[in-house]
Symmetry: C3
Subunit: 309 residues, 3 copies
């Protein structure tokens, strides 16, 4: 059994065997979610803390539900209206919560590296739920899980990640994980959002020609344009973006027959991809969400040592 | 057993037998709330999602507690700080939550018909917790439950609903449910808030003479003046409203000896009714709250098919 | 068994035997928190309501976790976005929640005496989680628990409470509890924040000479300067405060070898005490947090009559 870590901080530092261990554990938990009584007692009496310094109802709900499905208790702690707003440091906040006898922190933070800092100062497990533009390892894992499930395997497959690569922790986690499992990864989008240096840093290909990329890809993972983070400053307008870099039926005619379309959500319908594609038969977007639950159950289960290894 | 629906969207489309089935099921759950250990395992492993697009701590708490008393897990999702504020549609939001493996949506929405729309797009159960000025079926049911409990039966009783009928989903749900069970319903209040067309649309009587109504009613259900929704624009002032349409001891001298006073809360004390009446022996206001829990347990239990039919 | 109260409203009205009963019960619950499965079924099926009219993530989390560790369900109710903002009174709010069949209110309120008022109007248990500048009894109890644990006993020990005594409910609860258990209590700080009348009112000593106090104390409890409540108006500046009234290594050279340093958190590092002292070997600050959980479990357990007396 390759897993003997207490934390999941990023995919960059995991081995191929560790990633496969998470995916296999997630596969067994996916079966639980299909049962009538969707609970297992693996983490009964444990407390998982959602420590979110950025809003994300979707991710925090997914982790909460994963923890509850393992019979853990969940405590949610956002930076608003808390002692953080009274000037307390991240470590002081965490040490105080830890002193209440909790077992794991699921942390989302705007600062890259915040989960790593926390892991050095706590005896609890730490799971990174997104740190700045660095990594979002469980999103990477659920994307990889979905690719493996839909395409049969990851090795040798070509995965294109489209859009705002520059600011994307999702792209980074996907690139690291997919490379380790032997996939070919192409980052594609406008030159302003996909600088060549990123490809070099991550050891993957870069392209600005979406049509060429669509022809080669087995999986097309469209990232969200994060207008709320002013991503709109990096291209002339949404119509231009949709026309040149967005996915639509016309462009998808070039794609392989079995190619799948992914998106981490929430979708800007009509920009990254058309509503028809988002809801069409190539789309595995909702399966990604379902798989996210299984992956997060697996991560909490393994990091909290519930397997007893 | 008449119940074989998956959703509770309104009272207008229910049969008399279906309403009675909910009331009878609620009566058996009311007994659970009186026990020392107030839990039954009926919905263990199920997940109920509170999807609230309008603030309502009171109603969402009542549903949450009802779900927990049935041993379900509860996930609360408000439109603030969520992906809804990132421009996602209701259906996209719901499909994403559904993909996490949840079982029921309890939805409150400012748009009439939103729960019906949701029900057409999800495999989960949908319970309407108030949609605009359309319906609020569980409030209607708990009011009817309370009338049945206090007056012994509903058929043949005269129920007056007083106040801002124009904007009230509570009035609509009450009118539909009470009529089906054979009660006489009178909607009463200022002509600006009780237009005759409403009576015609709902098939019930309309009156602007509160004194005459008080004399005839077995139950007086005072609606809340919703100042936060600018209901104050429909009458000259609160003192005039209280004097002409509010309930006080003087006016209640005309009432039948056994007539009960109801209010869905929160009360504007001194406007819709005096504090003395709100806390007096005719008042069944707090029993309405208690019965709300039993009714919501029954609705979740029946819609989620926990009875096994 | 001395405990037969339903409420914990303050320490002023408790007997020595009652305080000791809470401390002893807490000691047995502290053992539970050290187990792998940190739950006991004592309050299964009970509902504990956090009714917070002031923000306090830390205290409400501690109570929530204490309640969950006893297997109770928790309902959180803050004054924001609730019917309170629609003008409802505290008592109406509480009576409505009570009608849902809940068992205990944990109330924090800006008005001194609000928990006492509530206790007179409800059949539920009421636990004061801080009322204005009056009392914060569970904070007092956890401080006293920590002193007893670290120093072996309370009787005959000298406890100094440093800082903003004038506005501090923590100081008041500590003073009452410690006196009853036979400790010597010294309130110390700037004359503007420690008026002599307070010492007289609480029956304890007052000093403005921190060096002299440090020499005598077995426990030094540093209160937080509440800048968010404009406590800064009572002294010239934070550097002056730190120099004259703050704890640092230099000043602590005068202290007894076994003297402990306490703080209710969150700490203003470098003002009330230096980071070195906060994290040093005399500091018992995180143990206070851990003990808070055990104390709150004990209080809920005793007030809800789970012992069966």
């Amino acid at each position: 059994m390759p897993w003997n870590r207490k934390h999941l901080l990023d995919l960059e530092s995991l081995s191929k065997a560790e990633i496969v261990e998470i995916l296999d554990t997630a596969a067994s938990f996916k079966e639980v979610s299909g049962r009538s009584v969707k609970k297992v007692p693996a983490l009964r009496g444990k407390v998982v803390v959602n420590l979110f310094f950025e809003d994300s109802t979707r991710t925090s709900n997914s982790f909460s539900l994963a923890a509850k499905r393992l019979s853990a208790d969940v405590m949610s702690f956002s930076s608003k209206g808390s002692s953080v707003s009274k000037g307390e440091t991240l470590i002081d906040t965490a040490k105080n919560i830890e002193a209440m006898g909790v077992d794991a922190f699921v942390i989302r933070h705007y600062a890259p590296g915040a989960p790593h800092l926390l892991a050095r100062h706590t005896d609890c497990s730490v799971v990174n739920a997104g740190d700045g533009s660095h990594e979002h390892p469980t999103q990477g894992l659920l994307d990889i899980f979905t690719i493996r499930e839909k395409l049969g395997k990851v090795e040798g497959k070509t995965v294109a990640i489209l859009g705002d690569i520059r600011h994307s922790r999702v792209a980074r986690s996907n690139a690291h994980g997919l490379r380790k499992l032997g996939a070919r990864v192409i980052l594609a989008g406008p030159p302003t959002l996909v600088p060549p240096a990123i490809g070099k840093a991550l050891g993957v290909e870069v392209s600005h020609d979406i049509d060429a990329v669509v022809e080669q890809a087995d999986a097309l993972n469209c990232l969200r344009i994060q207008f709320e983070r002013k991503a709109g400053r990096f291209f002339p307008g949404v119509r231009e973006y949709a026309a040149i870099y967005g996915l639509d039926d016309e462009r998808m005619k070039r794609a392989k027959p079995e190619a799948i379309i992914m998106h981490p959500g929430p979708i800007n319908r009509g920009i990254e991809l058309t509503p028809e594609l988002a809801d069409g038969k190539r789309s595995v977007i909702l399966q990604q969400v379902s798989n996210g639950l299984a992956v997060r159950m697996a991560v909490l289960y393994l990091c909290l040592g519930a397997r007893g290894n």
